[in-house]
Symmetry: C2
Subunit: 319 residues, 2 copies
C-alpha cells in the first residue's frame, strides 16, 4: 500500500487512474484546480478513507508526503490550452518544476504525462522515442507542445542533477468515457454530432491520420511504467491508424448500430484546416512492449462502443 499523488486527478485520464489505484488499495491524493476536470469524475470516492481531494493549482508549490507522483495536471485539448497560452506554459513549467521539487524532497518516484505532441508534425513515421520532433516553437500549439518538451527537459535535468527518480510517458491520442463534452477533440465531437444527427465537422481534407487508444489501456501502461525500472521516455498509444475521414465514417456506422432508432442522418462536412495541425501520427510502441510488457488490449471499435454508450447516458441525464 503506497501513498500516491495524482495531479489532474479529476480530469479524463486522471480520474480513471484514480479509480484503478483506489481499487488496488492505495492511499490516493487527488490534486486538481478544476480548470477542465470535474468533481463528477471522482465523486464516487468521496468519503472513502483512502481518498483525499485537494483543490490546488500546481503552479503553486505543494507540501504533501507521498511515495509516488503521477503528474497529469495540464489542459490537454487545443481549445482549452489555447484559451490562455501563458497559463498553459506556466502549468507546463512551474507545475512540473514544483512536482519535481516535491519528488526530490520526499524522495518519491514521479511520472510525467508527456505527449505525442512533442513530436509535432512528424517527419518520421511511425514515431519512435528517439525521434526529436518537428514542432513550431511560435505557432498556436506551441504553448502546449513546447511546455511539454521543456517539462521533459526539466525532468531529466532533475534526474541527472538531483537523482530524482523520473518516468516519462509520451501519451498518444486517448479516448473513452469521461472525455470532456466540449473540449473540441475529434472523438467527443464526432460521437456527439452523430448522436444528435448533426453533421460531422472535418477540419481540412480529412486525410490527416491519428491513432487512438482506449483510456483503460493507457492506465495499464502508466501503472506499468511507474513501477518499471526503465527511466527513459516511453510511447503509450495504439498503433491502429485512421484518416480522420475514415474515422468519421466508422463513428457514424457504430453510432447507427448503437442508437435505439438504429438511425443516423449525419453527413460529413469539410471545414477549413487548422494551423500547424499534424498530418499524421502513429506510435511505435515496441519499446513499451519490450520494457513494460505492455501493449493495447482494446480494439478501437470496442473502445468506441463504450464511449458512445457513455455519451448516450450523458445526453439522457443532462440533455
Amino acid at each position: 500500500k503506497k501513498r500516491i499523488l495524482v495531479t489532474g486527478g479529476a480530469g479524463f485520464v486522471g480520474s480513471h487512474l484514480v479509480d484503478r489505484l483506489m481499487l488496488m488499495g492505495h492511499d490516493v491524493i487527488c490534486v486538481d484546480n478544476f480548470f477542465t476536470g470535474q468533481k463528477a469524475n471522482i465523486v464516487h470516492w468521496m468519503g472513502h478513507p483512502n481518498f483525499e481531494l485537494i483543490r490546488h493549482d500546481v503552479v503553486d508549490s505543494l507540501l504533501v508526503e507521498v511515495d509516488q507522483i503521477y503528474h497529469l495536471a495540464c489542459p490537454a485539448s487545443p481549445v482549452h490550452y489555447q484559451s490562455n497560452p501563458v497559463k498553459t506554459l506556466k502549468t507546463g513549467f512551474f507545475g512540473t518544476y514544483n512536482m519535481l521539487g516535491l519528488a526530490k524532497r520526499v524522495k518519491a518516484r514521479i511520472l510525467i504525462a508527456s505527449t505525442s505532441e512533442i513530436y509535432g508534425d512528424p517527419e518520421e513515421h511511425p514515431q519512435k522515442e528517439t525521434y526529436w520532433g518537428n514542432v513550431n516553437p511560435i505557432g498556436p500549439r506551441a504553448c502546449y507542445d513546447e511546455g511539454k518538451r521543456v517539462a521533459e527537459t526539466l525532468a531529466y535535468s532533475y534526474e541527472k542533477q538531483d537523482g530524482v527518480d523520473v518516468r516519462v510517458a509520451r501519451i498518444f491520442n486517448t479516448f473513452g468515457p469521461r472525455m470532456n463534452w466540449n473540449d473540441g477533440r475529434v472523438v467527443s465531437n464526432f460521437i456527439l454530432q452523430a448522436l444528435k444527427d448533426e453533421n460531422l465537422t472535418i477540419y481540412g481534407d480529412g486525410q490527416s491520420t491519428r491513432s487512438f487508444q482506449f483510456v483503460l489501456d493507457l492506465i495499464d501502461g502508466l501503472i506499468k511504467l511507474m513501477n518499471s525500472d526503465y527511466s527513459g521516455p516511453v510511447n503509450l498509444g495504439n498503433s491502429e491508424e485512421y484518416t480522420v475521414k475514415d474515422f468519421a465514417e466508422k463513428i457514424i456506422k457504430l453510432v447507427k448500430e448503437q442508437r435505439e432508432d438504429q438511425k443516423c442522418t449525419s453527413e460529413i462536412i469539410m471545414l477549413p484546416g487548422l494551423e500547424d495541425d499534424p498530418h499524421r501520427r502513429r506510435p511505435d510502441t515496441s519499446l513499451a512492449k519490450k520494457e513494460l510488457g505492455w501493449q493495447p488490449k482494446w480494439s478501437v471499435e470496442d473502445g468506441l462502443k463504450e464511449t458512445i454508450g457513455y455519451f448516450q447516458r450523458q445526453i439522457k441525464f443532462f440533455g
Copy 2:
C-alpha cells in the same frame, strides 16, 4: 533619450550593447548576477550619471521603470549552461517570464536574445526563420535549447494575450573582445591555444561547420531590430561558413602573423566528438536585410584580428 534595461549586461554581448547605448546617450540600467559576466566589462561606465548597475538574478522579479528591455541574461556556452541544467532552465523560463511581466507592466518594448540553437542540428541549410528545428528535448544541450525555445513561445504568448511589444533575435555564433577566457567556446579556445603554442583541440572530425559573426555587427543588428516595426523572430549572424578544421587553420595563420615572434608551433589534434553537437550551421539573413536593412560589415578575418589582439593584451596583463 530612453531608459533602457540590459539584462546580462556585464557579459560578453551585453557589455558591448551597454557601450553602444551609453554612447548613444541613453540612460542604461545593467542587471547581472555575475554568473559568467564580469565587472571588468563595464567598469568604465561606473560613476557615469546615465549608468546604473544592479546585482540581481532574473529568476527573481524586478521592479524598475524603463522604456526598452534587452533581455540577454543567460549563460551561453555549453560548459556553463551544462554545469547546472536546472538553473539554466530556470533562467530561461522564469527570467524571461519576469522580464515579460515587467515589460507588460511598464509598457516597455522587450527584445529577447534567442539563439541559432533553437534550430538544433538542422536538416534545413542555411537556416531560415521559418524552420522549426531539430532539437533533442532530453539531450545534454536541451536545458539551453529548450529553455530558449520555450522563452520564444512565452514571448509570443505575451504578445498575443497581453499585447506586449516583443522582438526576438535568433543570434548565431558570435565572437570578439570580452569573450570569456574559460567558457570553452571554439573561438576563445583556439586563439588562446595558438597564442600559447598549445595544440588546437578539435572535437570530432573537424568537418562540422559554424558561421561566426563579429560582436559589433550583432550589436548593430540588435539595436536595429529593437527599433524596427518587425516583430517576428529574426536571424542575426554572418553567413561565412567554416568547417571547424579550416577555422583552426585560419586561426593558427592569423595568430602567427600577429604574434611578435611571428611563430606558432600549435598543431591540430582530434578529440572525441561531443554528444548532439550540431553538424552545420549557417544563417539565412535575408529577412534581417529586408526588414532591418542590416547585414554584417565585419569580415571574419578582421574580427579575428581584433579578438586575437584582445587576448594578447589579456595574457600580457593577467598572465
